[in-house]
Amino acid sequence: MNLKMLKDTLIITALKSIPDLKRQPLMIFLIGLISSLPLYFIVVFGGQISYGLIGAMVSTVSFIGMSAAIQDVTWDRYVKIREMIIAMPVHPLSYALGIALAPLMLSLPSLFFFGAVATMLGALTISSLLWATLALILCWATVSSIGFLISTYLQKSSPYTINSISNILGIALGFIPPVYYPEEMLGSFSWISAIFPTSNTASLIRVYSGSLSLPLEMVIARWVILIITTAVFAAITAAKAKWRES
């Protein structure tokens, strides 16, 4: 990525976040609210809030990644802003990254909030923050890649259908696997946690914050799975996505 591509990425990020932020500031609260809803039930039913806070951070980046890659791309196609950008000297990677980064910027306040509360409650340690950030970035990249891949196959669907698909996938990835609850609850099926980028990320964060104990080789395997999943989906998307229609 050269300087021009980086600059274009930042311009698209600004274009896709600043107007929304200026005119719909409540969006920031909404993003955090969706991810924090399960916390209410965790508290009411006597679950561990520390698990829930890490889950909220993971599901925030997951929901945001999926929604950006599927919904934003589709709406860009619908309003034809994408056609205008294709005809500009802008690299497709800058466009994809800008689109994916914009909602991530909007979710930063929620992430900081969840992270701060989790640290205060001891669910995260200062030393684990770096690993947590790295895992969250990889989770966002994987889910965004999955979203971009889905959107390349759903080019003819209406934005409303795609909106629903994106929400269903976002909820499924964020709430069904052990993201808000410990993977040990799955017993002998706890390995399922490694399959989903969301639960894998949540488990890795718990490992570094000391609430989950896994052998070192298992931890390394989890990182490898996360990185490979990201790379595979990004590669398939790059191969399948077409900047120029044929």
Binding site: K4, I86, A87
Partner: protein, 303 residues
């Protein structure tokens, strides 16, 4: 060197049935002219614009913008063009200013120049006072002008506009045409499509009529009008039988109680008007319009 050139351009959309949208299209658009593509819906105008604006790959043939091959050198082409797609919509949260500002930055215009260019473009389309209003609160015409302003502020050498004035009221349309003509005077090349024949006739330096993927006529508006056998139209209101004419005649078009009769010359037109008036019918005559010729050409009736 031409601004836009196509040589035997073919586009086939591959689906269940292969649709040949462009069939050996040869067009040559000079630098500094306003060139209009006319044609019925589905004629291939948008396909042509999308190919030369590097959004769509061609199937066969060649296409160039300012000498750059649109297939092999899309990055070079994109440095010199700006596009308004057909049926473009706006994001409700964006303001006209943001459209101009961010799009100009993406086109690589230095930040120090962006504000001035955005201001000039917004003033040209008379949106300066509304520049900070979210598009959700603007009328359809104002939204369209915001998009046009974003293209005008681009500094691009070739502007490609697909039905830029669709949905605009008459006053707004005239403003846009006026701005586009000013751009041409400044040396820009404009390629556009429109369905508004009367305006195409006035603003275009040259135009092409595309029908079913084939260029059936191209040249200056007067040259195109010269292609028809008839040179005048007579509009008669009332029963044509009293004039000894039939409604089913090839040279007659019926609009309710009114009829347009195409005649070869002015004498014939004046004669027909005189006859109609004597019979107590309302009648008037005028030279053939581009729309008359267009309808005749796409209907297949030409010399």
């Amino acid at each position: 060197m031409e601004a836009v050139k196509s040589i035997d351009l073919v586009k086939v959309y591959h689906s269940k049935e292969n649709v040949e949208a462009l069939k050996n299209v040869n067009l040559s658009i000079n630098k500094g002219e306003l060139y209009t593509l006319l044609g019925p819906n589905g004629a291939g105008k948008t396909t042509f614009l999308r190919i030369v604006s590097t959004q769509l790959l061609l199937t066969k043939g060649e296409a160039y913008v300012l000498g750059y091959d649109v297939t092999m050198q899309p990055e070079e082409v994109r440095k010199h063009i700006a596009v308004v797609p057909q049926d473009v919509a706006t994001y409700g949260n964006f303001t006209p200013w943001e459209y101009c500002y961010y799009f100009s930055l993406l086109r690589g215009i230095p930040k120090r120049d962006v504000k001035e260019k955005a201001e000039n473009a917004l003033k040209a389309v008379e949106l300066w006072d509304l520049r900070n209003r979210p598009c959700a609160t603007l009328s359809g015409g104002e939204k369209r002008r915001a998009i046009i302003a974003s293209v005008l502020s681009s500094d691009a050498d070739v502007l490609m506009l697909d039905e830029p004035t669709s949905g605009l009221d008459a006053v707004a349309r005239r403003n846009v045409w006026s701005v586009l003509r000013d751009m041409v005077e400044q040396g820009k090349t404009i390629v556009l499509t429109t369905h508004i024949m009367e305006e195409a006739e006035i603003v275009s330096d040259r135009l092409a009529i595309i029908h079913k993927g084939i260029v059936i006529a191209q040249g200056a508006p007067d040259q195109i009008k010269g292609l028809a056998k008839e040179k005048f139209r007579v509009v008669v209101e009332g029963n044509l039988k009293s004039l000894g004419l039939s409604e089913n005649d090839n040279h007659t078009v019926k609009f309710g109680s009114k009829h347009i009769i195409y005649v070869k010359n002015e004498d014939e037109a004046i004669d027909l008007v005189g006859k109609a008036l004597k019979k107590g019918l309302r009648a008037e005559t005028a030279p053939l319009t581009l729309e008359d010729v267009f309808v005749k050409l796409v209907g297949g009736e030409t010399d």
